[in-house]
């Protein structure tokens, strides 16, 4: 009831100070008034400010009433209850007001929120629209750019330039009047013209092709004609044979040799070709021949073009063992023989030297091991009587040893061979070297075979350039070797008789009178040389290997005996012989206890270049021996006389010397000066 009364009362109050904006609402409210009471509607009509004022006023009233009630209660009395009651009722009313105000506040809040929400929704809708439109715009822009960037295929074709087009195209295609103005038409016209041109060119191409076919056919015909000539030419050559012989032009013989050469294995073939070429170009005395059975060679192998020397050796060996499996009871010996088998053909080289001695070299090829070996023989124009000490000089086994330093020919140069040897129980190739020949490194090089140590290759093929680059040096070395060995041979014969053969052009190196004599010259075994007590230095320096030859010379004068141990390197005379001395005279003197003996060794070992004589210095060894005799003379004659010992000197001084001793080591004067003939110090 009170609410109704307040409702009635309130509109009046509101109307009087309501804002014009609330006018509409007022009307709707009054319309609804008749139907039902809407507090929401009422909210719109009220002024929040005034409500706030009302709230404050109500709170104040309440406070005042509460205070009065408390006063009254504390005063006490009868009236008090009625007053309290009155005031209570008033405060209830105020409470009601407060509650109403609270409700209104809530409603206002809700309304406010709703409005905000609506507005937000609207904004969102617009925003969405905006996004959509922007998206569309972007899309359209993209489409536009795509369209603008479109390149039609026709632009990839390189069209002829405009001027050319107008020049060359026939008017019905170029249609100048239309195309000049309209670029679209112009391009179309140009494309047309392009098409025309291409068609014409395709025609031309077809014509050319057919021409080519025709010409090829003609060439075939002519070729056949030429090949039919071959048999006719052969018959002419046969007919000309007698003429060749009559005129001494053995082209045919050379031709036959080349025929045989075709069956040689590649390394021997390389050697043959290079040696023949060298012989023709540089050295007319070199003769090359092929020995052996061609039929066997043909039987062994297929034609040289697909020879299986190129395959790995283990494959070749495997083939052989598979072939052999049918025959039972295979001995290890047979396997070894098979591995070491030689090719049936061999190349023979004959090197003739100036004095009519000949070095015969026979080169073999070991097929399974892919190495070449050589056997050597020296024949002289006259029969040679071999002195005892010269036994090893020209022996086939050692005459070519160490042609290049370190090339002793006892080991196989192909590292792959070691595995093959292990399979058949061969320890080393040196056991078979006597019958098979020596596998020297220079022989492999002449055959074009190169076995690099760092990167072992699967297949080693014969190389012509390797052979050519080594041919000249090797031939020259071989000749020098033979000649120096023959010279030594002759010299040894003389040395064994106690005569040091000094040639007339080397006489100037020595004084006229030499009293010390060579009494003995013998060979010494390598082990015996190493056991001598005065050769330790040479052995320690690594100069006494087992490829060298060792000799002992004995020089005497009076009671003095000088032993000289000689190391002859196979590379004599470019590598000098090395002497070590031991003097037995008033005690044993060697280089460790007598500085002068050391100096004498130095005179022959280090100063050997003076003793080389004229090239090719075959006189080196004999000159060294003669010098030793001179040095012994000087040593004995310049020995200072011991005052405490009775008697004259054993060796009176006959040599002319400027000074007897010089320097801190008190050296004797060992250097001979020509032509004045006196001795001085170095």
């Amino acid at each position: 009831m009170s609410s109704e009364s307040s409702k009635k009362r309130k509109p009046k109050v509101i109307r009087s100070d309501g804002a014009p904006a609330e006018g509409k609402r007022n009307r709707s409210d009054t319309e609804q008034e008749g139907k039902y009471y809407s507090e929401e509607a009422e909210v719109d009509l009220r002024d929040p400010g005034r409500d706030y004022e009302l709230y404050k006023y109500t709170c104040q009233e309440l406070q005042r009433l509460m205070a009065e009630i408390q006063d009254l209660k504390s005063r006490g009395g009868k009236d008090v209850a009625i007053e309290i009651e009155e005031r209570r009722i008033q405060s209830c009313v105020h409470f009601m007001t407060l509650k109403k105000l609270n409700r209104l506040a809530h409603i206002r809040l809700k309304k406010g929120r709703d409005q905000t929400h609506e507005a937000k929704q609207k904004v969102d809708a617009y925003h969405l629209q905006l996004q959509n439109l922007l998206y569309e715009v972007m899309h359209l822009q993209k489409e536009i750019t795509k369209c603008l960037e479109f390149k039609s295929k026709h632009e990839e074709i390189d069209l002829v330039s405009l001027e050319e087009f107008y020049k060359e195209a026939p008017p019905d295609i170029s249609k100048a009047e239309v195309t000049m103005g309209d670029p679209h038409q112009q391009t179309l016209a140009r494309l047309d013209w392009e098409l025309e041109q291409r068609k014409r060119l395709a025609e031309k191409y077809r014509e050319c092709l057919s021409n080519k076919e025709k010409i090829l056919k003609e060439i075939e015909v002519k070729k056949e004609y030429l090949s039919s000539l071959q048999p006719r030419l052969n018959s002419i050559m046969q007919a000309s044979l007698p003429v060749q012989e009559y005129l001494f032009m053995p082209f045919d013989q050379a031709h036959k040799q080349y025929e045989t050469a075709r069956h040689l294995p590649p390394p021997l073939y390389v050697l043959f070709v290079q040696a023949t070429a060298y012989g023709q170009a540089c050295d007319k005395t070199l003769s090359v021949a092929i020995e052996g059975s061609v039929d066997e060679a043909k039987a062994l192998f297929k034609p040289p073009e697909d020879s299986q020397d190129d395959e790995s050796d283990s494959d070749a060996e495997e083939e052989q063992t598979t072939r052999r499996r049918p025959t039972l009871g295979v001995q290890l010996d047979d396997k070894r023989k098979e591995m070491l088998k030689r090719h049936p053909l061999s190349v023979m080289l004959d090197l003739k030297c100036k004095d009519d001695s000949v070095l015969h070299l026979t080169f073999y090829y070991l097929m399974n091991l892919n190495i070449m070996t050589v056997k050597a023989k020296v024949t002289t124009a006259m029969e040679l009587i071999t002195p005892i000490s010269a036994g090893d000089l020209l022996s086939p086994d050692s005459v070519l040893s160490c042609l290049y330093p370190g090339d002793h020919g006892k080991k196989t140069p192909n590292p792959a061979n070691q595995y093959q040897f292990d399979k058949v129980g061969i320890l080393t190739l040196s056991d078979y070297v006597l019958e098979l020949g020596h596998p020297y490194l220079w022989v492999q090089k002449l055959g074009g075979l190169h076995f690099p140590k760092e990167q072992p290759q699967q297949t080693v093929i014969a190389d012509h350039s390797l052979s050519a680059s080594h041919m000249e040096t090797t031939m020259k070395l071989l000749k020098t070797r033979v000649q120096s060995r023959l010279a030594l041979h002759k010299q040894f014969a003389s040395l064994e008789h106690g005569i040091v053969p000094v040639t007339s052009d080397c006489q100037y190196l020595f004084p006229a009178k030499v009293v010390s004599r060579l009494v003995k010259w013998v060979t010494v075994a390598h082990e015996d040389y190493m056991e001598l007590h005065f050769t330790k230095d040479i052995v320690d320096a690594g100069l006494a290997g087992d490829t060298n030859l060792y000799y002992m010379a004995l020089i005497e004068r009076g009671t003095a005996k000088l032993q000289a141990a000689v190391v002859l390197n196979p590379g004599y005379s470019s590598i000098p012989p090395v002497f070590q001395l031991c003097l037995n005279w008033k005690g044993e003197k060697t280089n460790s206890n007598d500085d002068n003996i050391r100096a004498m060794e130095g005179e022959v070992n280090v100063c050997y270049k003076e003793l080389c004589g004229p090239w090719p210095s075959h006189q080196l060894l004999t000159n060294q021996l003669q010098r030793l005799c001179v040095l012994l003379d000087v040593y004995l004659e310049t020995e200072s006389h011991d005052d405490s010992v009775e008697g004259p000197k054993e060796f009176p001084q006959e040599k002319m010397c400027l000074r007897l001793f010089r320097g801190p080591s008190r050296m004797k004067p060992f250097k001979y000066n020509h032509p004045q003939g006196f001795f001085s110090h170095r």
């Binding site: 290049y404 330093p405 370190g406 090339d407 190493m530 330790k536 230095d537 040479i538 052995v539 320690d540 320096a541 690594g542 100069l543 006494a544 290997g545 087992d546 490829t547 390197n569 590379g571 470019s574 590598i575 000098p576 090395v578 280089n591 460790s592 206890n593 500085d595 050391r598 060794e601 130095g602 070992n605 280090v606 200072s640 011991d642 005052d643 405490s644 010992v645 400027l658 000074r659 001793f661 010089r662 320097g663 801190p664 080591s665 008190r666 001085s680 170095r682």
Partner: protein
């Protein structure tokens, strides 16, 4: 008896020649650089090699550190004697003295600073110079050798100031007596002569072969000489003997048969070396304290590196009839060898 044979390396002509040269090499003289870190050695082929002592003695020394830093041909004949001043190396051999700058020598292609030849009487044969002696007080160098005379050369001007004659055969060795100053020279004629430098006259002669230390079967020659104010030790053909100079009497004869080629005083010992492998250490009383074997069959020169600038390189080096210089870090054993 099986001897271990070294691996035979394929030797061509040059390798064989070099090996033979090294086998027959004799190192006659040594000299230490003023900084103490380098050693120069001169051999019979006229070459001088400079070794780096500091790198050979360092803890990371490899085989290459024992080879010379640089080798060059200094003279045509053997280099018999070398001394070092505080900046130069003076080397002498066949008749002339050459000077080299220590700082320049380590570079390749070094040229000598100067060379001088003393005025010789004979022109037939150029006499060798066997001994060089520095006299610091008057900044001069004394040379002696094959022409039996002592020549004095002033190091600043290079002129030869004095000639001291008296020996009848060539001179082997020189020693300096600081106090007077006097020079002692020993020669092939068997006499040790004392010369006063101020008066340029011979003041004393000791004919060693006339005393009880003589050994006639070896000869009379005096090969080595060292002096320590009143005392002198000399040897060679005669036995190694310690002499009291003022009274010219031999006090101790050292019992070693081999002729000695180099002798020097060191602290309270006498070090000597000669024919035979060992460096001998003697007490002044004549007792043999130690015999340390080296690597050469005979020794010709000993050098003590006492340069104050390099105390870590304080070593004794010995060289002689081989291409090797033995280095002794302490006198008890041979530490290693440098090699040409």
């Amino acid at each position: 008896m099986e001897r271990a044979v070294p691996l035979a390396v394929p030797l061509g002509q040059t390798e064989v020649f070099q090996a033979l040269q090294r086998l027959h090499m004799t190192i006659f003289s040594q000299s230490v650089s003023p900084c103490g870190k380098f050693l120069a050695a001169g051999n019979n082929y006229g070459q001088i090699a400079i070794f780096s002592l500091s790198s050979a003695l360092s803890s990371e020394a490899k085989e290459e550190s024992k080879k010379p830093v640089v080798t060059f041909q200094a003279h045509d004949g053997p280099v018999y004697s070398m001394v070092s001043t505080d900046r130069h190396l003076l080397s002498a051999g066949d008749g002339e003295v050459k000077a080299w700058l220590w700082a320049e020598m380590l570079k390749k292609g070094c040229k000598e600073l100067w060379r001088r030849q003393p005025p010789y009487r004979t022109s037939l044969e150029v006499p060798e110079i066997n001994a060089l002696l520095l006299v610091p007080k008057e900044n001069s160098l004394i040379l002696a050798g094959g022409d039996c005379q002592l020549h004095t050369m002033d190091l600043e001007t290079g002129t030869f100031t004095r000639v001291l004659r008296g020996h009848t055969d060539y001179i082997h060795c020189l020693a300096l007596r600081e106090r007077s100053p006097e020079v002692l020279s020993g020669g092939e004629d068997g006499a040790v002569r004392l010369w006063d430098l101020r008066t340029a006259k011979e003041v004393q002669t000791i004919e060693v072969y006339k005393h009880e230390c003589s050994r006639p079967h070896n000869g009379r020659w005096i090969g080595c000489l060292a002096t320590d104010s009143d005392w002198m030790v000399c040897g060679g053909g005669p036995a190694l003997t310690l002499w009291h100079l003022r009274s010219s009497t031999p006090t101790t004869i050292f019992p070693i048969r081999a002729p000695q080629k180099h002798v020097t005083f060191y602290q309270d010992l006498i070090l000597s070396a000669g024919q035979g492998r060992c460096v001998n250490q003697w007490q002044l009383s004549g007792e043999l304290k130690a015999q340390v074997p080296g690597s050469s069959p005979g020794l010709l020169s000993l050098s003590l590196n006492q340069q104050p600038a390099a105390p870590e390189c304080k070593v004794l080096t010995a060289a002689g009839n081989s291409c090797r210089v033995d280095v002794f870090t302490n006198l008890g054993y041979r530490a290693f060898s440098l090699s040409f």
